[in-house]
Symmetry: C2
Subunit: 301 residues, 2 copies
């Protein structure tokens, strides 16, 4: 089962209370693809500039990520600069240079149009619609978004929500999109907009999954040190869809275990800057932490 991700491939410059990193590989598609690559073959659709270095291409290729859909345009790669507060749940965007991302229209290579699992990363909902229109068939589409699109592109976003199976957002995005303060009501309101499932990411507090018939709640893996929260949400989504694709099981229990795999991947992501930890991670480490996660949460036996 292969996975298609559409999103940003970026340079991130990051400052956290633990240190800083300059122009490291980032972006929603990068974090998602790296997280998913441990579980299933991944294909990226995105754009980079002429300044995008070979070492990052190599990093993707070492993880067998298919880059046929990653276009290289003249101009510079999308660059984000952010600063985290002492409270790592709060961050400021210091600089944002769209560069080659401005005017980018995703174009799926012919081989990508029969997708199985699709993740529409956090990009303009118009671009997400464009991708959906190019897919011939698919098994499941999940989608992310952010406050900027909820404020400025709501009609397009609502169209996207009418076409997808799953929305993956954080709690403040869920509240903003639904207009509900209470998170359970927020999720129920979003389910009425189209998705069959809503996954709500709560950072260090874990994840809530809502569907018509069930709710699943899982804490995050407690860490003694969080170096850099960047990409935690996207690598969570990658591990989650990756495990769904690996298990090829559409049942509720399989989806719950996939959420835990996603949480495990995210817990590694934040242990170092950018994609450094995921770059050196092994499937054995993921399975080992999954077992620890079971021990952490089990009260049933």
């Amino acid at each position: 089962m292969s996975i298609l991700v559409v999103g940003t491939v970026a340079f991130d410059s990051i400052e956290t209370p633990s240190g800083s990193a300059e122009r490291v590989l980032g972006g929603s598609a990068s974090y998602f693809a790296m997280g998913a690559s441990f579980f299933a073959p991944v294909r990226i659709v995105g754009v980079v500039g002429k300044d995008f270095p070979e070492e990052y291409i190599d990093l993707f290729q070492r993880r067998n990520i298919d880059l046929q859909g990653l276009r290289r345009e003249s101009g510079d790669t999308f660059h984000w600069r952010g600063r985290y507060h002492e409270d790592l749940n709060v961050r400021d965007t210091v600089e944002l240079h769209l560069n080659v991302l401005a005017g980018f229209v995703p174009r799926l290579p012919e081989a990508y149009r029969d997708a199985e699992y699709v993740f529409l990363g956090n990009i303009d909902p118009e671009m997400q619609l464009e991708v959906l229109s190019q897919l011939r068939c698919f098994r499941m589409v999940a989608c992310d978004t952010m406050d900027h699109w909820i404020h400025n592109s709501l009609p397009a976003l609502r169209k996207v929500l009418g076409k997808i199976e799953m929305l993956v957002v954080n709690d403040s995005e869920a509240r903003l999109l639904s207009g509900e303060t209470n998170i359970v009501r927020a999720a129920r309101a979003i389910l009425k907009m189209g998705p069959k499932t809503v996954l709500i990411k709560r950072g260090e507090y874990g994840v809530l999954q809502f569907s018509e018939s069930a709710v699943f709640a899982v804490p995050a893996y407690p860490l003694e040190e969080v170096f850099d929260p960047t990409g935690a949400g996207d690598s969570f989504a990658g591990g989650f869809l990756g495990q769904l694709a690996r298990s090829a099981n559409a049942g509720e229990g399989a989806a719950r275990r996939a959420i835990v795999y996603g949480s495990v991947v995210a817990s590694f992501t934040v242990e170092d800057f950018g994609l450094k930890r995921l770059g050196s991670l092994s499937m054995e480490e993921i399975e080992e932490r999954y077992r620890r996660f079971v021990a952490l949460t089990d009260f049933h036996s």
Copy 2:
């Protein structure tokens, strides 16, 4: 197995975004005792004034709570007035009248001095030490505290921590007491102060339990409506120690299930103002929600 609680019995005047309540029964000992009373016999040590009404005495007695240790002094009952923000995790104390609580020295009736499970509610650590000195023997002592005592009575509080098995605090109290921002490091630092177990309450995000050898994380029961968060933490502690006493099992699995029972009790507490919901609650409802809690969190099967 009986449970002894020492703490406040108060009038609470509460304003939340959902409404308000004037001079309703509150205080740490009241919430704890009501929560624990579903599981095991409970004895209260505390003080009220001449203005304390019969209907509240009746409420305790209907739940078979032993009031031999509840002294009635001339003067008025302790009164707290608080206002919650739209974000229910934030509240302001608007008025605080200690009244008969000022100068109160807890005196354990003879029959209480051989206690089994003891909860030292959030009162002056000097009073907590006084209670400990009057106990002839006990099986397990848990203790709560708050920012006020951490700032103003740290030496006495450190003495308490050296004598008890378990500290039950919220995350900001754990950070303040330990001087650590990261919650895992905060808990590890507190374990070094004496307690064998630290329970960290995270409100709508659930509970973390730390001991030398294990960590347990559990989410909170998601609710569509939270009317009044007052007493959630104390009734959690009541349900937790109550279930520990009921099971009379000192194993790790039993402690984890007791934490879930505590979370279930707290989830009922916040569904209405003050002790209204606990006053009408039945053990069948608790068991039913416990089963829902299992369904909410289970990904192991």
